[in-house]
């Protein structure tokens, strides 16, 4: 196994694990703001690692640029939607949990 392959497998697994950690954060974190935090970090880094791993064995520069473009777009999109949701949540005065506190039990708000 070449060094390149080892590096690639490390990047791939690390990227996938980042996604997993992001989802875990989404489940475990107590309120909306912290969940946004978990989300945006995780998918930018996770996708970034996976894209890096894939770039290592593409044949053309154009393809590498395309992969990077996809990563960039996803980064902007998730940052933007995270920002929008936080902005709207702030405007609606959704409370932020203090350390150690868990969100009070909410009925699903749309029912």
């Amino acid at each position: 196994m070449s060094l390149l392959a080892i590096l690639q497998s490390f990047l791939l697994i690390a990227g996938a694990l980042m996604f997993c950690i992001g989802s875990l954060g989404l489940i475990r974190f107590p309120d909306t703001y912290t969940r946004i935090h978990a989300l945006t970090k995780a998918d930018n880094l996770g996708l970034g690692l996976i894209v890096l791993a894939l770039i290592l064995n593409v044949e053309s520069v154009a393809l590498a640029l395309k992969l990077l473009l996809i990563w960039g777009l996803v980064m902007i999109a998730s940052a933007l939607s995270g920002h929008l949701v936080a902005w709207e949540a702030d405007e609606q005065c959704i409370p932020l949990c203090q350390p150690g506190e868990t969100e009070r039990h909410l009925e699903s708000e749309d029912e």
Binding site: L73, I76, L80, H83, L84, W87, E91, S108, D110, E111
Partner: protein
């Protein structure tokens, strides 16, 4: 390992479908439905049907999600929440369940027989591909071998828009647009508009040689139009009847025109001139892309006929 992946995908697909059908909350159902589109795109890739995956991604992630969310907003605005999902005791439900199960059973029976296609169409397609003007077989089928079907399908699209106009109960025109007063959003979208247009044109251009083409490009274009609208840019053009309908029929008119030209030269309907098929196909596809984008966008606009909330700007 691959079987495991396929199995997981199928399970997620079935789970999402039943969740979005049976959940009590509309919002949840909408979210699951959008997610279903995403998973479907994955499944289509898995089944080696990239054209459909592309269309599913463009339509499912873009216009369908927005239409559903918008419908939800309308229901809230009018407090016109539809009746909750009834209890499962209803005879109608059982009837639907039994007939659905029957259909599945019959289909399973039917496909259990070994298939022995008498005609190998795929061979014929690849033999004639060189004369079709494009190198991607699906585009060749859609716009050359079976272009008559596509012509009628485009007519179906125009007609669908027209039916949507008719089914709307009121004649009032879309209201003044509401938009989000968020500076970051506007800055980002300035970046995104040209990107979306570019990708749409890329899909159109790529259609000659690889998956892509007018329908996918049109769906992406529609998403760009919707974004325009959502952030409050001018859409006066779409409120003018002439422009609205002109946009609908542009592609169809072009198609009919190109298709009936050969009739004057004593050739059958929809024949392309020798060795120029590629150019004409691209021309038609360009027209179709614009029209499809416009039609999908006007479907969205038509749902905007009652005023939504007035949001206090910060």
């Amino acid at each position: 390992m691959n079987e495991l992946i396929d199995l997981t995908l199928v399970c997620i697909l079935l789970g999402l479908a039943s969740l979005s059908l049976f959940t009590q909350s509309l919002f949840r159902a909408v979210m699951f439905f959008i997610l279903l589109g995403l998973i479907l795109a994955l499944v289509w890739i898995r089944l080696d049907a990239p054209d459909i995956a592309l269309a599913e991604a463009a339509i499912g992630a873009g216009i369908t999600g927005i239409l559903l969310l918008d419908a939800l907003a309308h229901l809230r605005a009018t407090s016109n929440t539809p009746p909750q999902l009834r209890q499962l005791k209803q005879p109608r439900f059982w009837l639907a369940l039994i007939s659905g199960a029957g259909v599945i059973l019959l289909l399973a029976l039917a496909i259990s027989e070994p298939l022995a296609p008498a005609v190998a169409l795929d061979l014929q397609v690849s033999e004639n591909l060189t004369n079709s003007g494009v190198t991607h077989p699906i585009t060749a089928i859609l716009l050359n071998f079976r272009s008559y079907d596509t012509l009628l399908e485009v007519a179906v699209l125009v007609l669908a828009a027209l039916v949507a106009v008719t089914l709307r109960q009121s004649d009032e025109h879309p209201v003044v647009n509401e938009y989000l007063p968020n500076p970051l959003l506007h800055a980002c979208l300035k970046l995104f508009f040209p990107m979306i247009f570019l990708v749409s044109m890329y899909l159109l251009w790529a259609g000659a040689a690889q998956p892509g083409g007018a329908f996918q490009a049109g769906a992406v274009l529609a998403a760009a139009f919707v974004l325009f609208y959502l952030v409050g840019l001018k859409t006066q053009l779409a409120q003018n009847d002439i422009y609205l309908k002109g946009g609908w029929i542009f592609g169809l008119a072009l198609f009919v025109l190109v298709g009936s030209m050969p009739l004057l030269y004593g050739q059958p309907f929809l024949t392309y001139p020798d060795s120029q098929a590629g150019i004409f196909i691209l021309l038609i596809e360009l027209g179709l892309t614009l029209s499809i984008g416009w039609i999908l966008f006007s479907m969205f606009l038509l749902s905007q006929s009652s005023p939504l909330q007035k949001k206090d700007s910060p």
